[in-house]
């Protein structure tokens, strides 16, 4: 188990290094001068040169990369160009809001897709089953930023039930969380359904029926726990995607999270903040994947890691 843990941890660090490198390559090597971009069209040549020197852009690339890695390990990505504080601090301040949104969306998605998946699996090929798969298909295809705007139009502007922007009480969380959750509900519902459909035919489920249990305890106590193992994996992976999807949804609902900070930083050409925001979201994604892998052994005693 500890060997496996070490291996997974080493792999996560490798991936994190890869992410840092990809960010570096994208910002520094892609055609176009970041200093020129930061200064904008109205900047003079001197401004550009000054910026290039300030950020070390006039040094050779390998030197820049080495320095960048060394600073990244110390979480030092430089000062934000607009916010009068280190870029890392700006991002860290926004993490709780994004975490709240992503976890809220995931909780909602699980709470909806579990019963839907069970219903679909129990009534396989019925109209109910088809309705559930139609709903999950639409959920996966409708762009969540548009859905969010439609929610604002209906529930905030027309019915005036819920606030359309900002953070505050539970009523602020509902619309953004639902828009984000819809991305995941379709995937999870399909997974619960197919997992349960496979397991319903297992011997031990028949045994449970044979000893006189009714449907509910058989499904809830015997079939569901095993059907949920792949669901946990995918839910974990999807939580990572929710973090990325939050970028768009936070913009729609003016939710003060990392995603909105990222979009603002892009339009302000605040590249230190852009880099840190991308890295932190990716780190969250990697961390979630690591936790999911580790929870496997706990959830499924058949799995033994060497």
């Amino acid at each position: 188990m500890s060997g496996y843990l070490a291996g997974r941890l080493a792999y996560s660090i490798f991936v994190l290094w890869g992410a840092i490198t990809i960010v570096f390559v994208t910002v520094r090597v892609v055609p176009g001068d970041p200093a020129q971009l930061m200064v904008g069209a109205q900047g003079t040549r001197q401004d550009v040169e000054a910026l290039r020197h300030r950020f070390g852009l006039d040094r050779p690339l390998p030197v820049q990369y080495g320095g960048y890695l060394a600073e990244a390990v110390r979480l030092n990505f430089g000062q934000s160009l607009r916010l009068e504080q280190p870029a890392v601090d700006a991002v860290i301040q926004r993490i709780p809001a994004t975490a709240l949104l992503a976890l809220g969306a995931m909780t909602l998605a699980v709470a909806i897709s579990l019963p839907l998946g069970i219903i679909a699996a129990m009534a396989r090929s019925s109209i109910l089953d088809r309705a559930v798969s139609a709903v999950s298909l639409v959920g996966q295809s409708v762009p969540n930023f548009w859905l969010g705007i439609m929610f604002i139009l209906i529930f905030a502007r027309t019915l005036r039930w819920l606030p359309s922007a900002g953070i505050g009480g539970a009523e602020h969380l509902i619309l953004p969380a639902v828009s984000l959750a819809l991305l995941v509900i379709g995937v999870l519902t399909r997974l619960v359904r197919s997992g349960l459909v496979d397991i319903i035919h297992e011997d031990y489920v028949r045994t449970a029926y044979a000893k006189g249990l009714s449907v509910r305890p058989v499904i809830v106590r015997h079939a569901l726990p095993n059907a949920l193992i792949p669901v946990v994996t995918v839910a974990g992976l999807q939580l990572g995607h929710l973090l990325a999807g939050a970028v768009v949804v936070e913009t729609v609902f003016a939710w003060p999270g990392v995603g909105r900070l990222l979009v603002d930083a892009i339009s302000n050409r605040d590249y230190p903040v852009v880099q840190v925001a991308v890295l932190f979201i990716t780190a969250g994604f990697i961390l979630v994947n690591l936790l999911v892998d580790l929870s496997y052994a706990y959830l499924d005693p058949r799995i033994r890691y060497r």
Binding site: T26, V27, G32, S141, F145, M150, S267, F285
Partner: protein
């Protein structure tokens, strides 16, 4: 001696009760589904190709007297604005039609580019094996560890908004799936006897790969391509919505939706209409892709 019962008009071959329907019937039903889902796609393509010619999109003219007119309103010069007008008086239908063209162009170009990158890297990795394979596949893993929309946002932010940049950005973020599928089929194909036979007759590597391996990698890639096309259309819309995709004078669906946000109370149709078009196209592509996969894979039995 009793006479034999009359034969049914169309003599069906004997089939024991409960046995599966013969293959051709399954194929016929799938072809019908394939046709059903390709109809909305054909409409999408036709609209993208011909629509702007029927309802011309004019990026320059601004008619402030006709701003925020609801769907169906008759404009000053007598034309009917079927989907209404936007905040500067431009016809929304013309914009949505032009948006279909952008969406189709970006998605087809991106899928071809990403597919070619994926085909070359996947077949290369699978055929070469060893170090090349390990390196390319680690690179693919690394990229999968990065949420693709985030990478797209990062690259698009650096490149700046333009149609060409959207295509570059999305091709760079979406080649991995193609590469994995191409690699998998290469690994299987290169062990087959006809490849060894070709090798034994002295075929060069280029011919071996080009004539014997690549054709087998292409069919599964077509399925991947349809699924990816839906994802690319959504990604393009998301990038344009964030202001990182199409430039302001190109009415991409994502951009129209973003423009309409400020007029939700007075003109709900601006954001609503392009979103409906977008959702319908993505749903149709998704269903078409699913059906195509089932159709091309003989192992699946439709329920």
């Amino acid at each position: 001696m009793s006479s034999s019962p009359p034969l049914p008009a169309a003599a069906a071959p004997f089939r024991p009760p409960g046995a599966a329907a013969p293959r051709y019937r399954r194929g016929r039903r799938m072809r019908a589904r394939l046709l059903a889902w390709s109809t909305p796609l054909a409409v999408f393509v036709a609209v993208a190709a011909l629509g702007p010619a029927l309802v011309p999109y004019d990026p320059v003219t601004v008619r402030l007297g006709e701003r925020l007119k609801p769907p169906g309103a008759v404009l000053e010069h007598g034309a009917k604005a079927w989907l209404g007008t936007d905040q500067v008086g431009k016809d929304l239908l013309a914009q949505v039609l032009q948006g279909a063209r952008i969406s189709l162009f970006v998605s087809v170009t991106t899928v071809i580019a990403a597919g070619l990158i994926g085909l070359v890297t996947g077949v290369g990795a699978g055929y070469a094996g060893r170090t090349t394979d390990a390196l390319l596949m680690r690179l693919a893993d690394l990229q999968l560890a990065f949420p693709s929309i985030l990478l797209a946002i990062l690259i698009a932010a650096v490149l700046g908004p333009s149609i060409a940049n959207v295509i570059i950005t999305l091709s760079v973020t979406r080649w991995v799936t193609f590469a994995r599928v191409a690699r998998a089929s290469t690994l299987v194909t290169k062990e087959r006897e006809f490849v060894m036979a070709a090798h034994a007759t002295g075929a060069r590597v280029a011919r071996l790969v080009g004539r014997h391996i690549v054709p087998f990698a292409v069919t599964p890639l077509i399925v991947v391509a349809t699924v990816e096309m839906g994802l690319v259309i959504l990604a393009e819309a998301s990038l344009s919505f964030l202001g990182l995709g199409a430039p302001p004078d190109h009415p991409s669906w994502g951009l129209i939706i973003a423009n309409g946000r400020n007029y939700l109370s007075s003109a709900w149709w601006i954001s609503t209409m392009p979103g409906i078009a977008l959702s319908l196209v993505v749903i149709a592509i998704g269903q078409f892709g699913d059906t195509l996969r089932d159709y091309l894979d003989p192992r699946t039995v439709s329920e």
